[in-house]
Every structure is written in C-alpha cells, then in structure tokens.
C-alpha cells in the first residue's frame, strides 16, 4: 500500500516541484527586469523634456527647485556618494575580512559562534538608528577629535557605513573561508607553515571568489544606503576637499526630494535618472568584479 502511494506521489509531484522552482528562478529575473524597466521608463522622458545631459554629467550645481533657472548637475552628488563609499570600504574591507579571518581561523568553536552572533547583531540594527548614532554620538566626538567646523561629514558617514558593511563582509567572507577544504590547511601544516602563512598563502587565494563576493555585497550596501547617510553626512551639495567636509549622496537626494515633486514633472524624472544612474553604477561594479573573478578562475584552472 505504502509503495503504491510513494510511486503515485513521485509521478506528478516531481514535475510540479521542478516547475515551481523554475518559476521562482524566472520570477527573480522578471522582478529585476521589471524594476529596471520601471525606473528607466520614468526617467526616459527627462531626456526629451528639457534635461541638458551635458549639464547633468558635468555640473556640480544641483538646484532643481530654482525659480530663476533649475539646475540639474549631479557631479557634487556623485562626488558625495563616491567619497563616502570609498572611505567606508577603506575601513570596512580590512575590518570585515580581518574579522572573517579571525572568526574562521583563530577562534575556538564556542567563541566563534558567540562572536558571530554579536557581529551579525550589528547587521540587524536599522539604518535610521545608525544615522541617529552618526548625527548625535559621532558628531560631537569628531568635532572634539579633529577640530572640524561641523561633525556630520564624509568621516562621519564613512565610519557609520563601514560599521554597517562589516557584518556582511565578515559573514560572507567567513563562509567563504570555511568552505575551503581542511585538506588545504592540513597540507600547509604538513609543510611547516605558520598560521598566518596558511591564511595568507593558501586560504586567501583559495577563497578569493567568495571573499570578492563578500566585498561586493559590502560595497552594494554602502552605495545603496540612504537613511544613515542622509543623517550622518550633512546633506550639503558641494564637491568635498577634505574628509571633514559635509556632502550629499545620490540616494539621500532621491529620499529627500521625491516626496515634493509633481508626478511626471521634470524634477521627478531627473530623480529617476539619478536612480537609473545608481543602478548602472551597481551593475558596473558587479560586472567588473565578475570579470575579475572569471580572470582569477581562469588562471587557477591552468
């Protein structure tokens, strides 16, 4: 009796499950393309209704609501995003990878789990709380430590973004290192390598793909972060000359201004153009990393 049911179940459940899984996969692609399509569709009319592309890409003047002459230059905003992201990554990549190596290779199993929980707790903190920490806590500390005229600036935003990205980089990086088979480690020990030599000469090259993926996810979080940078970077439209200057990011601009635009108006469309720009930037970063990874893989296979 049981055998008959088992055979009957597997005869049509198998294709159903296969089609459900196939649907999930295709729907992911469908949703991504829908979002891309929606953003580009809302942005496209800007090109025909008065947006001067040359000004858009080369001018640092962002004055969308001017009663004299609206200006839509995003250079200062891009400088803002770039500077905060670069500083955040300069802190978060060594910090996150270091934490990943520490947790994966240097810790006893019990403390590993505890440490992972604490660091992953950092990832659970809402971004608006991070923004608050930056605006209220880091602000006076930075003024006191550096004598800057104002404490919400690139340094503030960079530190906050780094703290937000470290858990992701650590988590994915640690998984990548754990995935390297123990045989590698055993072989290195047999050859007389010290622990750091094992990490540096054997594990890092072996886990390169995963570690790169970890860094990319961290970069993605930093570039796309909105609330925290809105509160911690000072939201000032200017090309920075030092880490102590306040700046404005592309994401914060969209968040702060989309609510007051008239749907279908030029300001609205230009904000969607900024959204398209953000998506293209992320795409470029991911594509570059993919090519690097393929290059590494290609060389490894030789």
């Amino acid at each position: 009796m049981r055998q008959r049911v088992a055979r009957g179940v597997s005869r049509w459940s198998e294709p159903v499950i296969e089609w459900t899984i196939r649907l999930c996969g295709w729907s992911a692609i469908f949703f991504v393309f829908s979002i891309l399509f929606f953003v580009f569709r809302e942005a496209a009319p800007a090109l025909t209704s008065g947006l001067r592309l040359k000004e858009f890409f080369t001018s640092p003047n962002w004055r969308p609501d001017s009663t004299i002459q609206p200006q839509f230059g995003v250079v200062a905003l891009m400088a803002g995003t770039a500077s905060v992201t670069l500083l955040a990554m300069a802190i978060a990549v060594p910090g996150g990878l270091g934490a990943a190596i520490f947790v994966s290779e240097y810790c006893a199993p019990k403390t590993r789990e505890g440490l992972k929980i604490v660091i992953e707790f950092l990832a659970a903190i809402p971004s608006v709380v991070w923004g608050f920490v930056g605006a209220m806590v880091l602000n006076p500390l930075i003024i006191r430590a550096t004598g800057a005229p104002v404490g919400i600036n690139i340094l503030n935003g960079g530190i906050i973004l780094a703290l937000m990205s470290v858990p992701i980089i650590m988590s994915v990086g640690e998984d990548a290192l754990r995935a390297v088979p123990d045989t590698y480690r055993e072989a290195a020990v047999a050859l007389g390598a010290s622990r750091w030599q094992i990490v540096y000469k054997v594990l890092l090259p072996a886990a390169k793909n995963g570690l790169l993926a970890a860094v990319l996810l961290g970069v993605g979080r930093a570039v796309g972060e909105t609330m925290a940078v809105l509160m911690a970077t000072g939201h000032a439209v200017q090309i920075p000359h030092s880490f102590l200057d306040p700046v404005r990011t592309l994401t914060a601009t969209i968040a702060a201004e989309l609510g007051e635009t008239v749907e279908g108006g030029l300001h609205y469309r230009v904000l969607f153009m900024i959204g398209s720009l953000l998506m293209l930037m992320t795409l470029a970063v991911n594509l570059t990393a993919d090519i690097i990874v393929k290059g590494i893989r290609g060389r490894q296979d030789v």
Binding site: T67, Y106, K110, T111, L115, F121, F132, H235, V262
Partner: protein, 304 residues
Amino acid sequence: MCHVRLSTLTLLTCAVSLTVACSGGDKRETASAPAAGGVVIRITGSDTMVNLVQAWAENYKKKRPDISVQVAGGGSGVGIAGLIDGILDLAAASREMEPREIERATQKHGGVKPKEYAVALDALSVYVRKDNPIDSMAIEDLAEIYGDKGKIEKWSHLGVKVPGCGSDTIVRVGRQNSSGTYVYFREAVLGRQREYKLGSIDQSGSKDVVALVGRTPCAIGYSGMAYATPEVKTIKLARQKGQPPVAPSNQPAIDKSYPLARALYFYSPGEPTPHVKEFLDWVMSPEGQKIVTDIGFVSVQGRS
C-alpha cells in the same frame, strides 16, 4: 588565541542591545488611527507647523471625538503637491503657494482655485549658539552669508571671534528644498533673483536645524520661532544697514517691524467641506489661537 568566554559575550550582547534600545529617536508624529466609522480630516505639509497642527488635532479630538484629524509632515512642498494631487483635505504651508502651483491645482480641481487661510504668525528666527558674540545683523549681510556668490564666509568678516570655532568658517545650516521655510527665506532674504550658495547643511526638520546649531559652535541657521532651545539664541535683524535691528517676538511679528515676519497657512482645494470648515473656524477661534501661543508662535488675532 581568543580567551573571551561565551558568558562575557552574552553579557556584551545584552548591554549593546539595551544601549541601542535606550537611545531615543527623533519622533515625528504622523497619522493617528481614524475613529471607527467617523470623519477623517487629512492635513499634510509644513514641518514648521507640524507640532502646532498636531496640538490642534489632539485638542480638537477632545471637542469632537467623532472627527479624527490625521497629521503628516514632509514639508510645505509635499503638502502642496498633495493638495494638487487631491489626496488631502488641508495643506499646511509655511509659505504662500506660487502662481504656477495655484494654476496646477485649479486645473486639477475643475477650475476651482485653492483657498488660503492664515492660521498663525511666525517671526522666522536666525539662530546661533548661545556663546556666539554676534548680536544683530542686517538682511543684506544675511544675504551675503547664504546667497550664491556671497562674500561673507568667515565669522571674522562680521567682526566677531566665535569661541569654540577654530576654523572661523561660517557653517550655514538650512532646510531641504521641500521646505516652505527654505522657500520663504530665499525670497525674503535673497530676493527673487538670487539662489542659495551651495554647500549648506540641509536639515529635514525645523527642530533639526536648531539642534545642529546648538551643537556646532561655527553654525548659523534659520527656523521657526517656536523651536528655540536653551543652547541657542536668536539674533536681531535690521531691514537695512543703519536701521535699528528688531528681535523676533510677538509684537514685531504682528506689526511686521521684524523683517522676517510671516504667516503660516492652511490651503484647501477649493471650498472646504462642512467638517473641515468647522475645524477651520475652531482653529481661528480664541480656543484654537491659544494653542498657537502655547506652542510658541503668534496668534493671528493681534492682526488688525
């Protein structure tokens, strides 16, 4: 080798979570739950007015429990955009609607122009830190600080040395461009033909401007008169150099001797419904206007 024990880590996790939980946030009051089956009046817009409108909403609920007033902020720009799109009953604005906005609203509502109600008065204040020696300023100096290509960039240009401001830079704090206060200040101080200088720190709310100025020795900022805190002081303003500077307070707001005296408005898309009209009448009554003075603004009743 790490010797950190699991129990210590657990304690650390609890301490961190308690700290995060106890760090209060900046709460913006938004919509309250509508009365079951009752009437809802939706008011969106000015951040300058949001505390005032919220106070009106709460007090009106005591008077008329069947009517629920839902308040949201976002800035005068958001309120006016909502009025044009027809998604609210009243737009709260700390500036007047511009002609093209009125035109767009009239178009969208079948040729009916929006109605304007001045519900309170404000002496828009310029704040500096309490220990900043500067006391008064002419409007044209303010324009040189905030305006595009303005020449005043350091406190020493104004002849003062600010304690705690080592770099001597004037840090300009302002609002984001959805704010009615931003638009009003630009028109009243810079004039119609001049833009803001880029690079000011653009805060999202009136309270945030004053909070940042209070924490930053080098800063100067503008915000509604109701938002003063003990860490800041207001400076007197003179319409022109040589005229006696006037402090932002009640009488100068009413008789317009203060250069930045302005009205705070409600706009309704056309003629308001009976419920909204009742609410507006109550807001303009002595009871409603007492709440205006309690919050820190000036009642319209003083106006002749």
